[in-house]
Assembly symmetry: C3
Homo-oligomer: 364 residues x 3
Amino acid sequence: MPVLLAPEQAPTLQTLLAEANVAGLDCIPVETKDKVQPRIRGLGSLLSAGPDEISFLSNPRMQAQLPQSGAAVVILTPTAFETLKAESYTFLPVLCSEPYLMYALLAQWFDRHRINSLPAGIHESAVIAPTAQIEPGVAIGPHCVIEDGVRIGRGTRLGPGCIIGANSILGADCLLHGRVTLYHHVVVGDRAILHSGCVLGADGFGFAPDPRQESGAWAKIAQIGGVVLGNDVEIGANTTVDRGAIDNTIIGNGVKLDNQIMIGHNCQIGDHTAMAACVGVAGSTIIGKRCSIGGAAMLSGHLNLADDVNVSGGTAITSSISHPGRYTGVYPYAEHIQWQRNAAVLPQLATLRRRIRALEKQES
Amino acid sequence: MPVLLAPEQAPTLQTLLAEANVAGLDCIPVETKDKVQPRIRGLGSLLSAGPDEISFLSNPRMQAQLPQSGAAVVILTPTAFETLKAESYTFLPVLCSEPYLMYALLAQWFDRHRINSLPAGIHESAVIAPTAQIEPGVAIGPHCVIEDGVRIGRGTRLGPGCIIGANSILGADCLLHGRVTLYHHVVVGDRAILHSGCVLGADGFGFAPDPRQESGAWAKIAQIGGVVLGNDVEIGANTTVDRGAIDNTIIGNGVKLDNQIMIGHNCQIGDHTAMAACVGVAGSTIIGKRCSIGGAAMLSGHLNLADDVNVSGGTAITSSISHPGRYTGVYPYAEHIQWQRNAAVLPQLATLRRRIRALEKQES
Amino acid sequence: MPVLLAPEQAPTLQTLLAEANVAGLDCIPVETKDKVQPRIRGLGSLLSAGPDEISFLSNPRMQAQLPQSGAAVVILTPTAFETLKAESYTFLPVLCSEPYLMYALLAQWFDRHRINSLPAGIHESAVIAPTAQIEPGVAIGPHCVIEDGVRIGRGTRLGPGCIIGANSILGADCLLHGRVTLYHHVVVGDRAILHSGCVLGADGFGFAPDPRQESGAWAKIAQIGGVVLGNDVEIGANTTVDRGAIDNTIIGNGVKLDNQIMIGHNCQIGDHTAMAACVGVAGSTIIGKRCSIGGAAMLSGHLNLADDVNVSGGTAITSSISHPGRYTGVYPYAEHIQWQRNAAVLPQLATLRRRIRALEKQES
């Protein structure tokens, strides 16, 4: 459950909206004149928010919960407010054309104002190479290791135990949670969020058969490319992005990768593409902008996916996709015995088609 | 191979049974009067155990191996012992109604009595916030980081390099192997076993489209919920459990998660549910008690699974399941050419059904 | 992009070939008498390599790019050189019967000669048990932890934050990148490359039902086996190899595992088998030599795979395979609506087969 701010630290609604809001989002509190400006100690869902919390309604299917909300304030669309009007309610409504986005911004505000677990400054146990260039306002947690030639931009914060390999570059205002590893020669843009256990720049998987050794033996293809991340990228916990074989692996601006994703060497991922957890992308595949890849989907190597492609969770993409749209390939589950009965017919599909053709010929 | 205890450290059978056994498990050594009480230096399988080791028979299909066992002692059911009697054997039989459970308890005993790699006490290189509350008997390994407001219960042991984020709570008698990360505000019950590289409390994957930015850009939804684990939970290596968006992600008592599992934000997993490796559970899915989820299965978000549901490995569950039972959805593999031939018919299934209908109409 | 060496550090072609080449690979520079021996500052692909870089042609489909290459030197087969001859080109050709292998060896040379991010010697922040045996020439990075009874062979290098559990053994000339975890009693052969976040020796997933506790509760089966890796093994980032229940988990010589692979307890993997990322192998499965397992494939437990088996990516192997060959089982993806239409027929396959049979009977 979200932690409530102490009453003396809680902002008024006015302050909260002023500080969370940014240009272009209009949020209009209704009926403020009759009410004392409430202090907002936290943010909750419609039914869980208490009398000193703010909540929101973005999904119209939740409209029925609205009158019962015990929140101090609820953000909602003018339409939802119209629907509500006949009913009694106790919260202060705030009208906003984008309540879901407003919720995102409010949650960011509360997240920023909790106890900040990242230390300011550079912890004495961090090991920092003399040739590293650390800009002002950088925070480096305990037991971090910053190797030769690293550059870290203004305002970037590193949790405990991060390793930044030689000659890697972190932009400004990045947040690295604990235990992030960057190998050497990895470039990260501004405002990245990298989660614990993610590894950027490990070797891509490349081997050449070596006939001079015993049958089947491999010679390693050293991976001498790098990894380049654009700005505003988020990388989930235990996700891995491999370095390129010769050229770089490239992650575009605004790309969001969930946990335990694997991006093979020399992939290129277009701006604002989002991938849910456990996706695997084999080497050299190029994915367009604004794609969404569902959880546990798998993409073969050396493919091209157009912009705005949506891959369903659990789907194996084995060939290039040149048109936007939604693509799926998931075996429908069933009770085990039913599945067994029907799956047994799969190896006969080509035969069945032939038998149907034969029947059709006899008919005609 | 399990390491044998030095002879002088090895327990007698009597001591071993007394210390490993717990109320309710009856284990009766047979014919002890004729034999010297053997000292037991280790535990092995029927065929690998030597003359100073204990073994067990739980799977009736292994009965044929029983007479050849060179073990000093074998735990077996009275039924297996009856079957054995006609044959000659050299071990000392111990009758037990639950030999597999007895094996589990004996293995625990030997595991406890090996060289304990976790240091007692708090290593001088650990960085511990002054506001952290550490109960007596806690062991904290080298290079751990314990942040503000953390509480760690009596007898809990942390391997090297663990990070416990601000205000998180660890119960009593937990075992954290090296390099475990807890983010802030994560609650772990008593007797948890957390394996290396697991991450509890990273941000759930939540973004709101932000029309104020360039097309396709996302605003982060800060994840202000937490993670709460019950008692007796085991979490595998490199498994990730994300924190809730607003409310908590909840892992019930006795839940066992294998390696490289991903639990999305706001999931709830019922007591004693077990998941094999590489499972992915998308956000807000609720799983009942005593479920078993096979390896690499994938569950979509916002589903409800009843108690006692068994999902086969590799199955994608895309809708809620309201009845106990076994559910499967796996494409049967075949030699590549055969697969290719039959898979090519899949995109014509609806057409084939229509053609069958047409033929049936002509017939009638 | 690969970093170029400073001109004064760049080798001549002669030096490079002499140092990278090893017995049995013939590489013959053509027409060297007319040309100044170029200095080679880096290695690039045919189209990206500049006038002080070396490149190669191994895939005949790239032949058309060859004349345009701006590289100083190109490694190619005599056949490719014959094909080229009619065209004009600016690079120095080097004939080699195995250009792909030669590329692998050249890339290794450049990788060795970049700034070496791993420190020589033992960093003062490393915590090393007095009973550990460290051979000469071992490098141990900051914040490593080497526990009791560990042995580390000559020339092995450990990046920052590695943990080597009690009584584990690392062979000679291994390279452990940062944040590798070995639990206790793990044995690694010579020349291993272990990537960041991999975990060797975590507990296998084993539990016995415990009827003495509440319904569904599990007793842990302590995992008292170990893990043994042969020589020349590479393990990818965040891959996990569990320790055996009683006997060892065994990884053969020359095995190559990509990132985020999971190897269950008591598996045995034959020499030179290679697995792409995200593969899961359940416990006690035995895989032959020289197998290749495609990305995100899944193997059930207790199976046997013959030597030289090739499993396609995304395939679930649920039974043993006794013959070499390629095996596949992937649901073909399609546009979502088409998939939906055809997938809806899958639960009727057995019925459809019956209806076809009925029609056939009526016909005859």
